[in-house]
Symmetry: C2
Subunit: 540 residues, 2 copies
C-alpha cells in the first residue's frame, strides 16, 4: 500500500487534490475528511438557488459515492477534524460515532474559510451564506414569507445575497461598514454600482457595522436599529486556520496558513491550499488572502503534484486576484491593486479611465462600460484594473489578466490582435483603446489629470474648458467649466489662456484631440481623464 | 505649411492615418482621395443592413464633412487615383471634373482589397458585398422579392451574406470551391458549422466553383446550373495593389504591396497599410495577407506615427490573424495556423481538442463549445487555435491571442488567473482546462491519438474501449469499440490486452482518467483526443 494521504476539507481545494492525486498515484491511500454533509458542492451557486435562478438544488451537489468510487477515495462526510498531533502524525476526527485518531504520512489542509456569525438573540433567522445548510435555511425563510431582510457586508457574497433576495420580492437593506461596496474598487468605480443597487430598490446603509440581532432588529454600531425578518451576514470571513494555529504551524500576517510556492506549510508533512492558506500578492509580493475558487482548485490540484513529485509540480505564480461579480445585470471585475492603495503605498502610477462600448456601436445591443487601469509610471506595467459594465466585462478583465501574466505593458495592449466582428467588439477593442490612451500618457502625447485633482487645480485658477457640444453642456456640466466645442477650437483658441488649461469632454476622447490641438497651438493643457463621466462618478 | 501627405483610400487604414497624423502634426497638409462616395463607413456592418439587423442605414455611415472639419483634412470623395508617378511625386486623380495631378511629399496607399466580379450576362442581379452601393443594391433586390439566391464563397463575407439573406426569407445555396467553409478551420471544426448551416436551411454545394451567370442561373465549373434571382459573390478578393504594381513598387509573393515593419514600401516616400499591404505571418515569418479591420486601423494609425516620426513609432509585431465570425448564433474564432497546414509544413505539433461549457454547468444558459489548440511539440508554444460555440468563444480566442503575444506556453495557460463567477466561466476556465490537457500531453501524463489516426490504429489491431456509460454507448458509438464504463475499469481491466489500447469517452475527460488508470495498471494506452464528439465531427 502507498502513502496515507489525509485531506481535511472536501470541496474545491481538497477534492481537487484528491482526484488529481489518484490520477497520479493509484497506490496512495487517500482519505477525505469533510465536516459537512456535502463534498464538491458548488459554493458559488448557493445564492442563485435562494433567488430561484437555479431552481434545482441538486444541480449544486455532487454524488459523493460516485467520486469516491471513480477515484477510489475514502470520503467521510460529517467528519470534523478537531485536533492535529504533528509529532504523532495523526488527526483527531469527530463524527456521529465519536472521536477517532487518523494517522497520516501527508496531511492536506483544505478547510476553506470560516465566518463568525453575528451575535443574535434568536428573534430573527440569521445566517451566513457559505454552506448548503445556510442556503436551505435562507431559502426556507424566504419561501415562508420574508418581507424585509438586512444583508450585512458589501462584498461579493453580500451583493449576490442582496440580488437574489430582491429577485424573490424581499425588501433589502444592505449594511456596509465603509462608504462603498467592494473594496477592490476605487470610489468613482463603485459609484455606478451604488446607483444600480438603488435603482433596483436596495436601501444602502453606509458607514455602520452590524453589532447584533436583537428583538427583531439588526443593531448597528451607531445605535440605529433596522427592522428585519431575515438577516444574511456576509462579513467576518477569515481563513479557517485555527486548527493549524493550535498545532503550531506558521500562520502568516494575514491570518492564513503560511505556505511556500509549492503549498508546503512550516511542517514538511503538511500542505495547505485554498481559502485557508496565504497566497503571494502579484503586485506587492507580500502575503495576501485571495479567497477565490479558481485558485482553490488550481492550488488543490498542485498539491497533488507536489505530493506525487509529479513532473508538473512547479512554483505557483503570485496571485493577481482576478475576480468578477454580477449585480442585477451589471458586471464588476477587478484585478491587482486599487488606485487608492497604490497611492497610499507611494507608488508612482499613471491612471487611465475609458468608457468604451462592448461592441460596434452600429450593431444592436452595444453597452457602455468603464475601464480603469493603474499603470506603473516607471516600467509601464499594469498594477491594477477595474471594469464595470453590462456586457463584455469578463472578456476584457481576462485579457488584461493574461497580458499581465505575459508581461505585456500597458502601452503594448494597443497591439493585441483581438478578434473582431461587430457582435463581439470593435476594430479597436476597448483593451486596444486603453493601450493607446496609456501609450499617449507614457510618451507625453497628452498630459492628463484625474477627477480628484480637479478641485485643486480649479482652486489654483486653472481654466476648465468643456469641449462637448452646447447640447451636452446644457444637460449637465462641471461647475466652473466654459463651453468651447471641439470643432470650434481651432478658430477660437485665442479666447483661452496660454497656460493652465484643463479640457474635458464626455469620456476623454474628444478631450484628448482637443488637448493635442491646443498643445500644438501653443497652450499648456491637460485632458481630464475619463471626462465628465468619470468626474460625475467620482463626485457621486 | 507642412508636408503634403496624400492618402489613397478613406476608410479603415486611410482615415486612421489621416486623423492620427493630424493629432500629431497640426501643420501637415493632409489630402484623402477616396474613389467611392463614402469615407469611414462600417464595411463590417454591410451584411447586417441587408438582413435588417441594422435597420438604420445611416448607422453605418460617417459624416465626412465633420471628420474633415475636426481634423482639418481635405477629403475628396468620388476621386479615384488612376496612376502614380513616383519620379514626379504626383498621383493622377480622376473625378467627375476630369483628371488632375496631385503632388505629394508622402503618399499613403490604403486602397484596401479589390474583388473581381463573376462574369454575368445581366440576367440576374450579381454583386460583391464590399461597398455601400453593393449593400444598397442587394437590399433593394431583396426588398423587391428575391426568392432564391446563390452565394458564392464560404469565407466570412459569404457566410454573413448567407445568414442575412436567410433572415430575410431568401432560400440560399452556398457554393464552395473546396470541401468546407472557412479555410482557417480544420475539417472536424468546420463540420459543426456545416451542420448548423444546413439546420438553418442553407443548401451547401461543395467542390465546385461558380464560373458565370447565364440565363437566370449560376453556372458551376462542373456544369451544374443553379437557378437564382440574386447572386452574391464573396470570392476573388485580392489586395488592391495594381496601382502600386504599375508604378514599379515591390509586390510581395502574396500579391500584396511589400512593406517593412514600419509600413514602408520599396519607395521611401510611400507607405502602405490595410488590406492592400502584406503582413508578416506570426507563425511562419513569411509574408501573408490578413484582411481584417483591426490591423487596418492599427497599421493606418502607425503610418501616421512613422510619417510624423512620433515616439510611438515602433515595428509592428507579426500578425496572428485572430478572427471571428458569427453564423446563425454560432461563433467561429480562429488564429494562427490550422493543423492541416502545420502538418503539411512538417512541423512537429501536439493537438488538443476539448468541449467545455462557457460557464458553470449549474447556472442557466451554459453552452458547450469546442476548443482546438495546435502546439509546437518542441517549445510548447501555441501555433494555432480554433473555437466554435454559441457563447464565450470571443473571450477565449482573445485570451489565447493575448497569451501568444505574451509568450505564454500552452501548458502555462493552466495558470492564468481568469475571472470566475458562475455566469461567466468556471473555476477552471476552458482556457485553463486546455492548458491542463496540453500540460499532461507535454509531460507524457497520457498519450493521445487524433480522430484521423484512429482508422489506421484499428486496422493495425488496436483495441478501442469506450469508457462511457452503456446508455451513451447505445446512443451512438464508434464502430469496433467495446464498452467498458470508467467506473468498472479497475475491476475489469483484466479483460483488456496489455498493449495497443485506445480509450475514449464523450469529450476526452473521462478517457483521460481511464488512460491514467490503465497506464498505472500496466497497460500501454492512449486517449482519443476530444473523444466521441471530435471523432464524430471528423467523420462527418
Ligand atoms: C456564497 C459563495 C459564493 C461564492 N462565489 C464565488 C465566485 O463567484 N467566484 C469565486 O471565485 N469564488 C466564489 N466563492 C469562493 C469560493 O467558493 C471559495 O474560494 C472556494 O470554495 C474555496 O475552496 P476551499 O476548498 O479552500 O474551501 P471550501 O470550498 O470552503 O471547502 C472547505 C471545506 O472544508 C470543510 N472543513 C473546514 N474545517 C474542517 C475541519 N476541521 N474538518 C473537516 N472539514 C472541515 C468545510 O466544511 C468545507 O466544506 C464563493 C463562496 C461562497 C460561500
Ligand atoms: C462585408 C464585409 C464584412 C467585413 N467584416 C469584418 C469583420 O467582421 N471583422 C474584420 O476584422 N474585418 C471585416 N471586414 C474586413 C475589413 O472591413 C477590412 O479589413 C478593412 O476595412 C480594410 O481596411 P482598408 O482601409 O485597408 O480598406 P477599405 O476599408 O476597404 O478601404 C479602402 C478604400 O480605398 C478606396 N480605394 C481603392 N482604390 C482606390 C483608388 N485607386 N483611389 C481612391 N480610392 C481608392 C476604396 O474605395 C475603399 O473605400 C469586412 C469587410 C467586408 C467587405
Ligand atoms: C470537481 C472536483 C472534484 C475536481 O475534479 P477533477 O476530476 O480534478 O476535475 P475536473 O472534473 O475539472 O476534470 C479535470 C481533469 O480532467 C482533465 N480533462 C478535462 N477535459 C479533458 C479533455 N477534454 N481531455 C483530456 N483531459 C481532460 C484535466 O486535465 C483534469 O485532469 P488533471 O487535473 O489530471 O490534469 C473539484 O473541482 C470540486 O470539488 N469542485 C466543486 C467545488 C468547487 O470547485 N467549488 C467552487 C466553485 S463553485
Ligand atoms: C474612425 C476613424 C476615422 C478613426 O478615427 P480616430 O479619431 O483615429 O479613432 P477613434 O475615433 O477610434 O479615437 C481613437 C483616438 O482617441 C483616443 N482616445 C479614445 N478614447 C480616449 C479616452 N477615453 N481618453 C483619451 N483618449 C482617448 C485614442 O487614443 C485615439 O487617439 P490616438 O490614435 O491619437 O492615440 C477610422 O477608424 C475609420 O474610418 N473607421 C471606420 C471604418 C472602419 O474601421 N471599418 C472597418 C470596421 S467596420
Amino acid at each position: 500500500m502507498g502513502r496515507r494521504v489525509v485531506i481535511v476539507g472536501g470541496v474545491a481545494a481538497g477534492m481537487s487534490a484528491a482526484t488529481r492525486l489518484r490520477r497520479l498515484d493509484e497506490e496512495a491511500s487517500i482519505t477525505v475528511l469533510e465536516a459537512g454533509d456535502h463534498v464538491s458542492f458548488a459554493n458559488c451557486g448557493l445564492p442563485y438557488h435562494v433567488g430561484d435562478v437555479i431552481p434545482d438544488r441538486g444541480a449544486l451537489l455532487r454524488d459523493a459515492g460516485q467520486i469516491a468510487e471513480r477515484f477510489r477515495l475514502d470520503v467521510r462526510r460529517g467528519h470534523e477534524v478537531v485536533a492535529l498531533d504533528r509529532d504523532a502524525r495523526t488527526v483527531r476526527v469527530r463524527s456521529a460515532d465519536g472521536e477517532t485518531d487518523e494517522p497520516y504520512d501527508v496531511l492536506v489542509l483544505a478547510s476553506g474559510a470560516a465566518a463568525s456569525p453575528l451575535p443574535t438573540d434568536g428573534s430573527v433567522p440569521t445566517h451566513t451564506l457559505r454552506t448548503v445548510e445556510d442556503m436551505d435555511a435562507i431559502r426556507a425563510a424566504v419561501d415562508g414569507g420574508v418581507r424585509r431582510a438586512v444583508v450585512v457586508g458589501g462584498g461579493y457574497i453580500g451583493l449576490e445575497a442582496t440580488e437574489n433576495l430582491v429577485r424573490r420580492g424581499v425588501e433589502v437593506s444592505l449594511v456596509i461598514r465603509g462608504d462603498q461596496v467592494l473594496r477592490t474598487l476605487d470610489a468613482e468605480m463603485a459609484a455606478p454600482v451604488h446607483e444600480h443597487l438603488v435603482a433596483h430598490g436596495v436601501a444602502l446603509r453606509f458607514g455602520a457595522a452590524a453589532e447584533r440581532v436583537d428583538a427583531g432588529h439588526v443593531v448597528l454600531d451607531d445605535g440605529e436599529r433596522l427592522l428585519a425578518d431575515l438577516v444574511v451576514d456576509g462579513t467576518g470571513v477569515r481563513p479557517a486556520s485555527s486548527l493549524a494555529e493550535r498545532s503550531g504551524l506558521d500562520i502568516g500576517p494575514t491570518g492564513g496558513i503560511a505556505v511556500d510556492a509549492r503549498h508546503r506549510t512550516s511542517d514538511p508533512a503538511i500542505l495547505a491550499a485554498g481559502d485557508d492558506a496565504e497566497k503571494q500578492d502579484a503586485i506587492g509580493g507580500e502575503p495576501a488572502l485571495v479567497a477565490l475558487a479558481g485558485l482553490a482548485n488550481r492550488h488543490g490540484r498542485a498539491v497533488a503534484d507536489v505530493i506525487a513529485e509529479a513532473p508538473a509540480a512547479t512554483d505557483a505564480p503570485p496571485a493577481l486576484g482576478t475576480a468578477i461579480v454580477q449585480v442585477f445585470g451589471l458586471a464588476v471585475a477587478t484585478l491587482g491593486w486599487t488606485e487608492a492603495r497604490l497611492r497610499e503605498a507611494g507608488r508612482a502610477i499613471r491612471v487611465v479611465h475609458t468608457h468604451p462600448i462592448d461592441h460596434a456601436a452600429y450593431y444592436p445591443g452595444a453597452e457602455q462600460m468603464t475601464v480603469k487601469l493603474m499603470i506603473d509610471a516607471e516600467d509601464d506595467r499594469l498594477l491594477g484594473a477595474q471594469i464595470v459594465g453590462r456586457a463584455g466585462v469578463d472578456k476584457r478583465i481576462d485579457v488584461l489578466a493574461t497580458a499581465i501574466a505575459g508581461g505585456i505593458t500597458a502601452s503594448r495592449l494597443s497591439q493585441l490582435e483581438l478578434a473582431y466582428a461587430p457582435q463581439f467588439g470593435s476594430a479597436k477593442d476597448p483593451v486596444n483603446l486603453a493601450g493607446y490612451v496609456a501609450e499617449n500618457l507614457a510618451l507625453g502625447q497628452a498630459a492628463a489629470v484625474q477627477w480628484h485633482e480637479l478641485p485643486g487645480l480649479l482652486a489654483d485658477g486653472w481654466t476648465l474648458v468643456d469641449v462637448r457640444s452646447p447640447g451636452e453642456f446644457a444637460r449637465g456640466a462641471i461647475p466652473g467649466a466654459v463651453n468651447l466645442p471641439l470643432d470650434e477650437l481651432r478658430a477660437r483658441h485665442g479666447e483661452l489662456p496660454a497656460d493652465r488649461v484643463v479640457v474635458h469632454c464626455q469620456v476623454g476622447q474628444r478631450g484628448f484631440t482637443a488637448a493635442r490641438l491646443l498643445g500644438q497651438l501653443g497652450h499648456d493643457v491637460a485632458n481630464l481623464d475619463g471626462g465628465y463621466r468619470t468626474w460625475r462618478d467620482g463626485e457621486a
